[in-house]
C-alpha cells in the first residue's frame, strides 16, 4: 500500500491496460445501449455518456483501473424525467448531478458512506440486479419463439464458453454469434435499430436547450440529487471493490469530485448521467487493467468501434442484448445474501428485504436506500434502548441497579420498573454505574423517579454516575429547573 505517482497510474501497466481497455470497450457497448433503452433515450445518449465518462474519469478519477459509464442504477432514476420533460432536461439534470457530486468531494462526504449499514448496501445491489432484470422481460412480449431461442443461446454461450477459452470474453462471443445468426439466417426479430438509431459521429459540445429559471431547477433538482447520491454510492462501492481486488488504496473524495467533473462534461456532450460500474471494473481488473490508461482506452476503443461498426451494431438482435443483461443482473445480485439470510440477525434481513421491495415498488434506488437507512436506525434505537433494572434489598434499603443507555427512547420503559410504594423500606439507592445518561430526557426521568420515591416518604440516593453523565446532569440541572 505505497503511494504511487500520478504518472505511474498512467504508465505503470501499459501492456495490461491496452488489452483490458479493448476487452472492456467491447463489453461496454451492449450495456450502454441496453441502459439507454431502459431510460427511454436513444442508444447514442448512453454510448456518448460512456465514451466521455471513461475518458474524463481516466484523467480526474481517484481510483485508477475503475471503469465508469452509463449505468443501470442511474438510468432507472431518470425514466420519469425523460418521459415527462424530454432529453434536454436529462442533460441539464446530468450537469447539475455533476455539480452536486463535486460539492460532495469538496466537503469530503465520502467517509459517511461507511455509515450506511451493510444490509442497506446488500439491498442496494440486489435491488439493482432486479431492476436490470425486469425491463428485459418486456422485450419478450409479443415476440415469436425465435426470440426465446436466441436469448437462450446467448446465455448458454456466456456461461459455457469459458470452458473452451477464457482469453476471449464469452459475452463478446455470444454477441457475435447471435448477431450473425440473426443477420445470415434472416430471422425476423427486433434489433437495436428498431428501437433507436446509431449515429457514427463523435459527440459535440451543446448547451442543453432549456429555459434557465427556477421552475426548471425545481424540476431537475430532485432528480439530480438522487442521481448524485446513487452515483456516488455505486462509485464508492466499486472503488472499494477495486481497492480490495488490487490490494491498493484510492482517494474517495477525489473520486467523488472526478465523477462530478465527468458528469458535467457528459451533460454538455449529449450524454446521460453515469457512475462507476461494478461488473465492468471487475472485468477490467480480471483482464489485467490497473491504470488510468485502461479507462481512457476503453472510451476511445468504444467510440472507434461505434464509428467503424455502427452498421453492424444496429443489427444486434434485442434477444442478444436481453440475454447479456440477464447475465449482468445475475452477476450483480449478491447471492451470498440469500445463502446467509437465515444466519444474519433478523433485523438485518428485514432491512435488506425492505430496501429491495421499496426499490422495486418505487423504481428509485435513492428512496430504497433512505428507507433502509431509516429502518435500520429504528432497529438500532430499539436494540440499544433496552434497559434492565435489577433490585436488591439491604435491610431497609432497596438498591436498584440500572443497566443500559438512558436517552429519549429508553426512558419511557424505565419509569414503570420501580416499586414506588414498597412499604418495608425507607431508603432507596439508584445505581447508575453500569449505565450512561445521554440527554435531557434521561436527566428528567431520573429526577422524576427520585421525586416519586420522595413523595412516598423514601430517602433517595443516586450513585455511580460516570463522569460524562455527572457533567451533563450538572449542566442541565440549572437549565431545566425543578422537576
Amino acid at each position: 500500500m505505497t503511494k504511487i505517482t500520478y504518472a505511474h497510474t498512467w504508465l505503470g501497466n501499459m501492456k495490461g491496460d491496452i488489452l483490458s481497455g479493448l476487452v472492456v470497450a467491447l463489453a461496454l457497448i451492449p450495456e450502454a445501449i441496453a441502459f439507454s433503452i431502459i431510460a427511454g433515450v436513444d442508444p447514442m445518449v448512453g454510448l456518448y455518456a460512456t465514451f466521455t465518462i471513461c475518458i474524463v474519469i481516466a484523467f480526474v478519477g481517484g481510483r485508477p483501473g475503475m471503469i465508469s459509464g452509463a449505468t443501470g442504477a442511474m438510468a432507472l432514476l431518470f425514466i420519469d424525467l425523460v418521459a415527462g420533460h424530454g432529453l434536454q432536461y436529462l442533460l441539464a439534470a446530468t450537469i447539475l448531478t455533476g455539480i452536486i457530486q463535486i460539492l460532495f468531494g469538496i466537503f469530503k462526504l465520502a467517509r459517511y458512506m461507511k455509515f450506511i449499514p451493510r444490509s442497506v448496501m446488500v439491498g442496494f445491489v440486489n435491488a439493482l440486479a432486479i431492476m436490470i432484470f425486469m425491463p428485459q422481460l418486456q422485450h419478450f412480449v409479443g415476440e415469436s419463439w425465435v426470440m426465446y431461442v436466441l436469448a437462450a443461446v446467448t446465455l448458454l454461450i456466456i456461461y459455457l464458453f469459458p470452458y473452451i477459452s477464457k482469453t476471449i470474453p464469452s459475452t463478446l462471443v455470444a454477441l457475435v454469434v447471435v448477431t450473425s445468426i440473426a443477420i445470415f439466417m434472416n430471422v425476423n426479430v427486433r434489433s437495436v435499430g428498431d428501437i433507436g438509431s446509431i449515429s457514427q459521429t463523435l459527440p459535440i459540445f451543446l448547451i442543453p436547450q432549456i429555459p434557465i429559471n427556477l421552475e426548471t431547477l425545481s424540476i431537475i433538482f430532485p432528480y439530480a440529487l438522487a442521481l448524485a447520491i446513487v452515483g456516488l454510492l455505486e462509485s464508492l462501492l466499486t472503488a472499494s471493490i477495486v481497492d480490495d481486488s488490487t490490494g491498493t488504496e484510492s482517494d474517495k473524495n477525489v473520486e467523488s469530485r472526478g465523477q462530478g467533473i465527468a458528469n458535467i462534461i457528459t451533460g454538455f456532450f449529449g450524454g446521460m448521467a453515469g457512475c462507476a460500474m461494478i461488473g465492468q471494473s471487475v472485468i477490467n481488473i480480471k483482464s489485467g487493467g490497473r491504470g488510468r490508461t485502461s479507462s481512457l482506452l476503453a472510451g476511445i476503443f468504444l467510440m472507434l468501434l461505434i464509428v467503424i461498426l455502427g452498421d453492424i451494431v444496429v443489427q444486434i438482435p434485442m434477444a442478444a442484448l436481453a440475454g447479456i443483461m440477464i447475465m449482468v443482473a445475475i452477476s450483480t445480485f449478491d447471492w451470498n445474501s440469500i445463502r446467509t439470510i437465515h444466519l444474519v440477525p433478523r433485523s438485518d434481513a428485514a432491512v435488506m428485504i425492505v430496501t429491495v421491495l421499496t426499490v422495486v415498488l418505487t423504481h428509485n434506488l435513492a428512496i430504497g436506500v433512505f428507507t433502509g437507512i431509516i429502518l435500520s436506525s429504528i432497529f438500532f434505537v430499539s436494540k440499544i434502548s433496552r434497559v434492565h433494572v435489577e433490585s436488591a434489598l439491604e435491610g431497609n434499603k432497596r438498591i436498584y441497579s440500572i443497566r443500559g443507555e438512558l436517552f429519549f427512547a429508553s426512558v419511557t420503559e424505565l419509569l414503570p420498573k420501580f416499586n414506588y410504594e414498597e412499604a418495608s423500606i425507607t431508603e432507596v439507592e439508584i445505581n447508575l454505574s453500569r449505565s450512561h445518561i445521554w440527554d435531557d430526557s434521561a436527566v428528567v426521568a431520573i429526577e422524576k423517579i427520585a421525586a416519586r420515591f420522595r413523595e412516598n416518604g423514601k430517602n433517595v440516593e443516586v450513585t455511580g454516575m460516570n463522569e460524562a453523565s455527572t457533567e451533563l446532569v450538572g449542566r442541565l440541572h440549572n437549565k431545566l429547573g425543578s422537576h
Binding site: 451493510r118 448496501m121 481486488s245 490490494g247 481488473i285
Partner: protein
Amino acid sequence: MYKNILLATDGSEHSKRALENAINIAKCTEGSKVDVVYVIDASKAKSDVLNNWNSVDVNDSRMKQLKNAEKLAKESGVSYEIKILHGEPGPTIVDYADKSGSDIVIIGSRGLNGLQEFMLGSVSHKVAKRANCPVLIVK
C-alpha cells in the same frame, strides 16, 4: 526433501487439513519453510467488500480466517510466512509457485463455494495440471 512448501489456503476445512499435512511434511526436512498463500479473487471481491461494509477493513475477516492457520503453524514450530496475493486463484498460485521456486504445492481438494466450482472448475485441479512441481491435493 521438500524445502520450499507452498500451502494454498482459503480458510476452508479442506485447506486446514492441507495445512496439517504441510506441517507434517515440513517437519521431515530440516530448514524447510511453509509459504501460506491466500489469493484474493476480483470476482469474489464484490461479495467480500459488501459483507464487510461496516468493518474497518475487508482484510479483517480474511485475517481472522488466516489467524487459525497461523496459530496452527506457530504451535507446530515450523517456519512459515503468510502471503496475500491478488488475481484468479489457480493461475496466481501456479505463478507464485514457479517464481518462488516451490518444491511442492499443497492444496485442499475443495474450496468454499460449490456452485462456483461447478461453473469454473476447481482451483486444485488447475494447479495440479499446470504447476511444475509435485502437487499434493488433500481430501
